[in-house]
């Protein structure tokens, strides 16, 4: 029941929001926080009863949904999905705090936002492929509206590009899903059953199915060369939605790669590994170089996501427990750290209405709290030991090195580029001569602090002591590779 509650609470909130008068922003925000908060609270309560030593699906719920097609309402989490569920409920709540700054068409905003949250949670929790696909697509529509109505100057183009790009990927995923359905002797969409049925599938079939799945997943990750929608969508989206995009939506792709690609079509997955590692290296190096070339802070952070997802892919390509743990941990850390980065960029944009790097200078003098938080987050993102990013990147490299020596070496060099663009940003914005134009700029408000401080605290916690998040996923990852 708990998983259903987590998934559907936001949707119920959305339906309630729909019935409220549109001028009553306070009530709408209240309902939004209650719904998203209920989901967050329920997921936190589950931590206590989540068995970290078990690799099985937990809190399973299974009912027939469309018996004619053998589609079931099958939910469950294991060590791979549970941390991502926590990330989603947490980051959604944080993004909702950030959404208090939205003043226009509040009712529609909260309606779409809450539907989006249900979609994202469902993707991680669903254990039936049709259910998974339904949730996967549900995330698209709200995102289209959230970018297109509340976004920046080129929002409308960004919205439709995002939508069509992702949709074209997912229809191939649908084809792959149908192919598996007819191949399985019992004609089933159940992921757990397909994971068993796949022993009978020949390599040729698995490769084809994997490619269909990968096409849909790679766009979401985004893996080179399917990353071109991301900078535009990120830059044009309003701040809280950029946070959600980076923190949760990209993770759906990597999660799918492990859950569907690796677990259901292992032969296809291992066939693809040599290419995957090349894509990972390109993501890392090319993403970092692109980030370095940006003058817009938000676009820079967007490209840093391409770069960070490259680390995830590299860790996965290593096919070791270390690499997999690194990849999953990197998903969590990237969610927290990049989420914070987008919020921080949003803070300065709200004040200055520009994100141009060269428009600032010496801000550390004027805004010490802001500068401190920004530096902490940047250091975490570039992988400074002692902060969250370090452990996951380290594990990804360590896990991949034994199998892919020179590829990993090139990727490690990519870290230098990552460090370079973050340091350059800090230098340009916070150090140097103070630009008098911003003399009246206030430091961070309570609302902004409320959304960023929890993330900063987690960044330090996971940097000093990464044991807890790793302990959640450990048993599952060992089980994954033991097959």
């Amino acid at each position: 029941m708990m998983l259903s509650l987590i998934t559907w609470a936001p949707l119920i909130g959305a339906l309630i929001v729909l019935t409220l008068p549109k001028d009553n922003a306070k009530a709408i925000q209240g309902v939004g926080f209650l719904a998203s908060g209920a989901s967050l609270l329920a997921s936190l309560l589950l931590i206590a009863s989540f068995k970290t030593g078990s690799a099985d699906m937990q809190f399973v719920e299974s009912y027939a949904w469309i018996p004619a097609l053998n589609v079931s309402y099958h939910l469950g989490v294991d060590g791979l999905s549970f941390p991502l569920v926590l990330l989603t409920t947490f980051m959604s709540f944080i993004a909702l705090i950030g959404s208090l700054g939205i003043k226009e068409r509040v009712k529609e905003y909260f309606f779409w936002f809450l539907i989006l949250e249900t979609g994202m949670l469902g993707v991680f929790i669903a254990l039936d492929l049709v259910l998974f696909y339904v949730f996967w697509e549900i995330t698209l529509v709200p995102m289209y509206f959230l970018i297109g109505i509340w976004g920046g100057p080129k929002k409308e183009f960004a919205a439709i590009k995002f939508f069509l790009y992702t949709l074209s990927g997912s229809v191939f995923m649908l084809l792959a899903i149908l192919a598996m359905y007819f191949k399985a002797p019992s004609h089933t969409f159940d992921m757990l059953e397909l994971m068993k049925a796949n022993v009978a599938w020949d390599k040729h079939f698995q490769v084809l199915v994997f490619l269909g799945l990968y096409f849909g997943l790679a766009i979401k990750i985004p893996a080179f060369p399917f990353h071109t929608w991301l900078p535009l969508a990120h830059v044009e989206a309003p701040t809280p939605i950029s946070v959600i995009l980076a923190a949760v939506l990209l993770k759906m792709g990597v999660y799918g790669l492990l859950r569907l690609g690796y677990q259901i079509t292992p032969l296809g997955f291992s066939w693809f590994l040599p290419y995957l590692v090349v894509i990972a290296v390109i993501n890392i190096v090319y993403g970092a170089l692109c980030a370095m070339a940006q003058t817009d802070m938000k676009k820079m952070v967007a490209y840093s996501s391409v770069n960070h997802m490259g680390y995830c892919l590299l860790g996965i390509a290593g096919m070791t427990a270390t690499g997999f743990s690194g990849a999953v941990l990197q998903m969590i850390n990237h969610g927290i750290v990049t989420g914070a980065l987008f919020l921080l960029v949003g803070v300065i944009y709200d004040r200055a209405h520009t994100r141009d790097l060269s428009a600032f200078g010496g801000l550390a003098l004027k805004l010490p709290v802001y500068a401190g938080l920004m530096m902490l987050t940047c250091f975490a993102s570039l992988g400074l030991p002692g902060l969250a990013g370090f452990w996951s990147e380290f594990l990804c490299f360590l896990g991949a090195f034994s199998a892919w020596k020179w590829q990993t070496t090139i990727s490690v060099l990519g870290i230098i580029a990552t460090a370079a663009f973050f340091l350059r940003m800090m230098q340009k914005v916070f150090l140097g001569a103070f630009n008098e134009k911003w003399a009246g700029m206030p430091d961070m408000s309570w609302r902004e602090l409320a959304s960023i401080l929890p993330l900063a605290a987690l960044t330090v916690w996971f940097g000093v002591d990464p044991k807890w998040p790793l302990s959640l996923m450990n048993a599952t990852i060992i089980h994954l590779l033991g097959k």
Binding site: K107, E108, Y133, L164, V171, A179
Partner: protein, 471 residues
């Protein structure tokens, strides 16, 4: 005249439509609205009649020129439901001349009765008569707004094209008769030879006109644009699904397409229909024309199930047809509400609809998303069935082309959505004045789109119960 009782519902409806015509003459013009109510109540009544007699085995069987099975009953119900809802839309459509309310209502019922004959027919004579009944009624209905030049233009084009395709159909029928010596559609009546196959192809073209299959679709945009919106709604749904039902009977059950090597031809027609429909819709700035091209494309998806030819394919076509009633009707109903308010069906009349009426724009969004096949709406379940029937029978290319088409279609459906949500309302954002009956029809449609999307099992169960009995 054996087993005329099998046609009872269609005969009752024909009788009611004639009665309406008589009433029109007797009733003073100021009460003419009562005739619309009488009309939608008549089709609802016949719908109830069909449902009530379904359980009775005596309602099914073979007659001289017709056959009544649960398959034809299913499509009769879909057609009657469409007719009732479109007549409701007509109640709030102001451009219709009050004076001719009875004629309008009677013609709608007559077309509906024709479609009910059509889904029962197994003899080419009855098929031809039924098709002509539908065609002639709809020619008049399209031209019903006599003061509107577009309406006249649409009716004229529709008529000329209709006459041409009737000729093709008759030619096909005569070839079939020459090959088999009978007009009855019986499998094995004639050895497969060039004459029979040519006859079947010509018949396919004749049917394709009604179902708006490429390359017989040219009349669609003009007729749909010119016709009164309730008529457009009716034409875009009822004749289409009834003709697809007929195609399914002829090329699915009686003359299985693969056996006559027509499978590839049907596949090509499906691809052409989808692709032409979707890619031409990109360039439309009139919402009725846009939905017209969209409905052409939808017919293409339906054909995929026919090409698959399996039980699952038949089920897919039935399921999708039923879902299509809800989603297309909803979209046209909102278009009518908005277009009537703005005085034009240009896309710009949708500007800022979300800020004027969030409910109406959400309804439109749901219907359009469903047409594009986005879950969790009913259209997704329909497409899932359609494409899975193609994948199951190894028609990968059809599934791929169909899915690519779905993505492309999302683009133009979102052009409407874009207008509703991203544009500011032009001038004063006054709330819309929408009639109760239009609201009712929209509510029914949206409810269907949501309900069959979230809980499709009851619909699937009734579809598979009906599909299994196809001869």
């Amino acid at each position: 005249m054996a087993h005329l009782s099998l046609l009872t519902p269609a005969l009752v409806l024909s009788g009611l439509s004639l009665a309406l015509m008589l009433l029109d003459m007797l009733l003073p013009p100021k009460h003419s609205r009562a005739l619309y109510h009488a009309a939608w109540l008549s089709s609802a009544l016949v719908l109830v009649l069909v449902i009530a007699t379904m359980a009775d085995p005596a309602s099914r069987g073979s007659g001289a020129l017709w056959i009544s099975d649960s398959y034809s009953q299913f499509f009769s119900m879909a057609v009657l439901l469409t007719a009732a809802l479109c007549l409701l839309l007509g109640l709030d459509y102001r451009a219709l001349p009050e004076r001719h309310a009875g004629t309008f209502a009677a013609l709608m019922l007559m077309a509906t009765a024709g479609l009910m004959f059509l889904v029962c027919a197994v003899d080419l004579v009855l098929i031809f008569v039924a098709l002509e009944l539908v065609s002639i009624s709809s020619f008049v209905l399209v031209g019903f707004e006599r003061g509107n030049p577009k309406s006249n233009e649409g009716a004229m084009k529709y008529f000329l094209f209709g006459a041409f395709s009737s000729a093709l159909l008759v030619y096909g029928i005569s070839l079939y008769y020459g090959a088999s010596g009978t007009t009855h559609l019986t499998p094995g009546a004639a050895a497969p030879g060039p004459m029979l196959i040519l006859g079947l192809i010509l018949m396919l073209l004749g049917f394709g006109f009604k179902a708006s299959l490429a390359p017989m679709h040219f009349w669609v945009p003009d007729a749909y644009e010119g016709a009164p919106t309730p008529v457009t709604t009716f034409l875009s749904i009822a004749p289409k699904i009834a003709t697809i039902a007929l195609l399914l009977r002829v090329f699915g059950a009686l003359f299985p397409a693969p056996q006559y090597e027509l499978g590839a031809l049907l596949g090509v027609v499906a691809v052409l229909t989808m692709t032409i429909g979707n890619f031409t819709a990109f360039f439309q700035d009139d919402v009725k024309r846009l939905l017209a091209y969209s409905s052409i494309a939808q017919a293409g998806y339906l054909l995929i199930g026919l090409v698959a030819g399996t039980t699952r394919g038949v089920e897919a076509v039935m399921l999708y047809s039923f879902v299509y009633v809800a989603m297309n009707l909803g979209a046209f109903a909102v278009a009518q509400a908005v277009g009537q308010d703005a005085g034009s069906y240009d896309l710009s009349s949708f500007d800022g609809l979300a800020q004027r009426s969030l409910g109406l724009s959400l309804a439109m969004t749901f219907c359009l998303l469903s047409l594009a096949g986005i879950p969790p709406l009913a259209g997704f379940i329909g497409k899932l069935y359609i494409f899975s029937s193609a994948v199951e029978t190894g028609h990968w290319w059809l599934a791929v082309i169909g899915l690519v088409n779905s993505v492309a279609s999302a683009y133009f459906y979102f052009r409407v959505v874009h207008r509703m949500y991203f544009r500011a309302p032009s001038a004063a954002p006054a709330p819309l004045a929408v009639g109760h009956f239009v609201y009712g029809a929209i509510a029914v449609a949206v409810l269907g789109v949501l309900l069959f999307g979230v809980n499709p099992q009851p619909l699937i169960a009734s579809v598979s119960a009906s599909a299994g009995l196809l001869p």
